[in-house]
């Protein structure tokens, strides 16, 4: 079973904060793997916020192929983190050649591209690299995006962290998401490891999404190249979020209305019932069937948690102005932010979306029965 932890803090933090929180929740997961998502980066990456960062795992041969590929397009390395690996990995962790975190300078020809086109191109390159890697089994690519780093590996999260020396200054970030489990509901592959990322949107999930196959069919048939992969039934949560916000232009407050719409009786009483009924019908294939707890992050650095209707997964949010965390279990929250006002901890229930904005000053709660905000 997965355990999830996400923290958003004004003061940059080491990913170890999240990994330690995961470690205290280890009874709830099987220590079979770890996925880390870092955003709003500090340290050396702070100066190069716009530069796309490639995160992945490469063999020596794969790295050479990567270099040739990127140089052909015109990408120049701007900054990289060198991960020096001990010769022998800890038990349960595969031997790898290179964990790559590398920021690039855009090709000159790209200078005139608008943001939408730029983002499409970044996605395209990530998908191309992934396909190249899958063909020769020499690259695994997690993200290629400005101000975002992702690290995933099989094995006990703490051992992996030690092995990769994650407690380093270059990796400090203000938004950190971490998940402790590799063995997801489908085949064991690093592409099945949460968090998932697409064009600035990231989510990780605890639970099983039994409506996975129809949702996957719907996303795959949207005609958008990024809706692919799906080694895990949880990847669709990221893509639904991306679809809702980026493709449909809806706000985060509608995300829950899409994945777990109100039942008909409640829908009729809702002040926005006409809109919501249309949304429920038109997005019907995106209705999930959990139990699921989803923690996600938007391009504006907001972090949120939603439960599905069944509310059978644990999840809690708490903290203090400046730093808030979302955790599968209270003990994880205690480990990361011990000196908070615990009476303000909140466990989102089946109608709630809990959300901490980029200002990190408070937890905002949306109840699904509340009126929707006016269109922006």
């Amino acid at each position: 079973m997965c355990r999830l932890f996400a923290i958003t803090s004004q003061k940059p933090l080491s990913p170890m904060v999240a990994l330690k929180a995961l470690d205290v929740m280890r009874e709830g997961h099987d220590c079979s793997g770890v996925g880390i998502f870092l955003r709003d980066l500090a340290g050396p990456f702070e100066e190069i916020k716009d530069a796309p960062i490639l995160s992945g795992i490469f063999s020596d041969k794969g790295l050479k192929r990567l270099d040739t590929f990127m140089m052909d397009i015109g990408f120049m390395t701007k900054y990289k983190i060198s991960v020096k690996l001990p010769k022998v990995p800890p038990p349960g962790v595969p031997k790898r050649d290179v964990y790559l975190i590398r920021a690039y300078e855009y090709p000159e020809e790209w200078e005139d591209l608008g943001q939408t086109e730029l983002y499409e191109q970044l996605l395209k390159i990530r998908l191309q690299l992934r396909a190249m890697g899958e063909e020769k089994k020499d690259m695994i690519v997690f993200s290629f995006w400005p101000d975002v780093i992702m690290i995933k590996e099989i094995g006990d999260p703490m051992l992996v962290a030690e092995h990769l020396n994650l407690d380093r200054k270059e990796l400090f970030a203000r938004v950190i998401m971490a998940q402790g489990r590799q063995n997801t509901n489908y085949a064991i592959t690093l592409y099945a490891c949460h968090p998932f990322f697409i064009q600035g949107y990231a989510t990780m999930t605890n639970g099983e999404n039994t409506a996975f196959v129809p949702i996957r069919s719907f996303l795959e048939s949207r005609g958008f190249d990024g809706y692919t992969g799906y080694q895990s039934d949880s990847e669709v949560f990221t893509h639904i979020l991306h679809y809702a916000v980026s493709k449909l232009g809806l706000g985060l407050e509608t995300y829950k209305h899409i994945i777990t719409p109100l039942q008909d009786g409640d829908l009729l009483d809702h002040p926005n019932s006409h809109f919501l009924k249309n949304l429920k019908q038109t997005c019907r294939p995106l209705i999930i069937d959990g139990p699921n707890c989803v923690i996600g992050c938007l391009p504006d650095h907001s972090v949120f948690m939603v439960q599905d209707r069944k509310k059978l997964r644990p999840g809690v949010v708490g903290g203090k102005p400046g730093v808030y965390a979302f955790s599968s279990e209270l003990c994880g929250l205690d480990a990361a932010i011990p000196n908070r006002d615990k009476s303000k901890d909140f466990q989102p229930m089946h109608l709630d979306t809990a959300f901490v904005g980029p200002g990190r000053q408070e937890v905002t709660l949306w109840n699904q029965k509340d009126p929707l905000p006016l269109p922006h």
């Binding site: 048939s221 232009g249 997005c283 209707r309």
Partner: protein
């Protein structure tokens, strides 16, 4: 030796018939109820002469031969009066003295039933038992993280949509611009398919309508019923219950004069309009109401003279192609109700279903597609059409769903599956399997007749005389002496029983799969079968 009767090519013995009447002299009270009830006069009072030999114990005396006669039941062997196996004789016999039995070999009647050059016509269904639907298993039991859902206590939302659902981008655009959004109905996924007023008796129709109204208004289940081609009683057209009714228009347009004239007086819009292009039981053949059943009431509703057979043409005569036909009919029907009522075509299962479907994807008004598979039933058709024409529903629905997925329209055009759902009594399992193959809902007819009214028909050619209006249960008869046997209130009650038990069974299927918040349309990962060829064809798992 001379035969008992003259031997002609079509002279049959009781043994040659599909059903043989077993009658017990000792039990029979000679009350005559069986001969009176037999719908086809297959049995009559018989006077039998019997020789009695009484050999004496004393060898010096001669054997006495005596002749006696006794009364009993004689089965007719004339093909026109063959027993149909309905067993109403057994039903009425006070002493269980009589029962029809299926012959133990292939009957010879089938070679002689075409007397006068008229091939056999009948009601009922394809005389083939079994089918792939019963072999589909639900294999994806949620065992990973999910405490199993409790079918009895958990909340379930198992409704479906009927109507053209716009893609999200368009829906939101039209919503903000106050554009026209096609009407969509949220309905229960088990729909009572088209059985006309005329094919069904007044008490059956009334019972079904009462049951549907009860399910909607008392049980909160949005069940819908299709009229079939035969119009709709004027009072129903002008009642609030019309919203539970799908009006069907077919090539004979029977009853539509009455419907069109009632439009200004309608309190509610009908649920939808179904345009019938084909029927699974007799693909490529039009509707048929034989003259036996066209009495004054039926004639008035349909706008025809009494006592004439009413064959609908196989095609909609005013149109020359399916594209034109579908487009024009859909448009006309939308206009009739001010674009407030979904309109969708129903076709028979066919290998050309995808061509029709592709056409509908390009028609922004098409509100769905109903496909009726080869195991569908009918009130009257040629035997050859029923037994040999048509396409199984499973692969038709699967192909159609996957085609919609390919073009990204799986949520836009709901597919309704019909034909043989629950034919072996496994209604919920068959319906759930079709939904997971991609159907948005299923249509049933024969199952309703069997469960709600006690229809005796079966795949072994029992009864199946719906066409001649002699239904011994009064379900498909227009003769008051017969349809008075059926109590509409009891039909309504049985219909409610049927739906409530179906609902529980459907939950018992979806709950272990971890599904409760929406109908698992296209959840093909839940399905498996022990036949690799079927698995490959339907793109589901092969399990042994």
């Amino acid at each position: 030796m001379e035969p008992e009767r003259p031997i002609a090519p079509s002279t049959l013995s009781v043994k040659d018939l599909p059903w043989q009447i077993l009658w017990d002299l000792d039990k029979c009270t000679l009350c005559g109820k069986c001969t009176a009830v037999c719908p086809v006069n297959a049995i009559e009072l018989g006077v039998f002469r019997k020789r009695i030999l009484e050999p004496p114990t004393d060898i010096t005396q001669e054997t006495v031969t005596d002749f006696r006669s006794y009364f009993g039941i004689r089965q007719k062997t004339d093909p026109a009066y063959r027993c149909v196996g309905c067993a109403m004789c057994t039903m009425v016999c006070p002493n269980d003295a009589i029962v029809p039995c299926r012959t133990d070999e292939s009957d010879k009647l089938k070679f002689h039933v075409d007397q006068g050059g008229q091939p056999r016509r009948r009601g009922g269904r394809r005389n083939v038992a079994g089918g792939v639907l019963d072999r589909l298993k639900f294999i994806r039991i949620s065992m990973l993280t999910d405490p199993a859902l409790d079918a009895g206590r958990h909340e379930f939302e198992l409704r479906t949509l009927l109507g053209r659902v716009l893609p999200p981008e368009e829906n939101l655009k039209f919503l903000s611009a106050n554009g026209w959004i096609p009407p969509v109905r949220e309905i229960y996924p088990l729909i009572i398919g088209g059985m006309s007023f005329g094919a069904l008796s007044p008490s059956m129709w009334e019972g079904l309508q009462m049951g549907v109204a009860y399910l909607n208004e008392e049980m909160g289940m949005p069940v819908r019923i299709c009229t079939g081609e035969g119009g709709c009683p004027p009072r129903l057209l002008r009642s609030r219950f019309l919203k539970y009714v799908i009006l069907q228009i077919a090539s004979g347009y029977f009853g539509w004069d009455e419907i069109i004239h009632a439009i200004p007086e309608m309190k509610e819009d009908p649920c939808a309009i179904e345009i019938k292009y084909g029927q699974g039981a007799k693909p490529g053949d039009g509707g048929l109401l034989m003259w036996y059943k066209v009495n004054k009431l039926i004639a008035a509703i349909r706008g025809v003279p009494t006592g004439v057979s009413l064959p609908s043409p196989p095609t909609h005569q005013t149109k020359y192609s399916i594209e034109e036909s579908v487009a024009k009919m859909i448009q006309s029907m939308y206009m009739a109700w001010g674009f407030r009522v979904p309109v969708y075509p129903k076709i028979s299962g066919t290998s050309t279903a995808l061509a029709v479907l592709n056409n509908l994807t390009r028609n922004p008004f098409a509100a769905g597609l109903a496909i009726d598979g080869e195991d569908g039933g009918t009130g009257a058709a040629y035997n050859v059409s029923m037994n040999h024409m048509g396409h199984p529903i499973a692969s038709n629905i699967r192909d159609s769903y996957l085609t919609l997925v390919e073009v990204g329209m799986q949520n836009q055009l709901p597919l309704l599956a019909g034909g043989g759902i629950g034919k072996n009594g496994n209604l919920a399992a068959n319906a759930a399997a079709l939904i997971m193959l991609g159907a948005s809902g299923v249509q049933i007819g024969k199952y309703v007749m069997q469960a709600a009214a006690g229809c005796l028909g079966s795949e072994s050619d029992r009864c199946n005389i719906c066409n001649i209006g002699l239904c011994p249960k009064g379900i498909t008869s227009q003769d008051p002496r017969l349809y008075r046997r059926l109590d509409a209130e009891q039909v309504a009650q049985r219909l409610v029983d049927l739906y409530l038990s179906f609902d529980t069974e459907l939950k018992k299927i979806v709950a272990p799969l971890g599904r409760s918040t929406s109908l698992p349309i296209g959840m093909s990962d839940a399905l498996g079968i022990d036949d690799p060829n079927v698995a490959e064809r339907l793109k589901i798992k092969y399990v042994v």
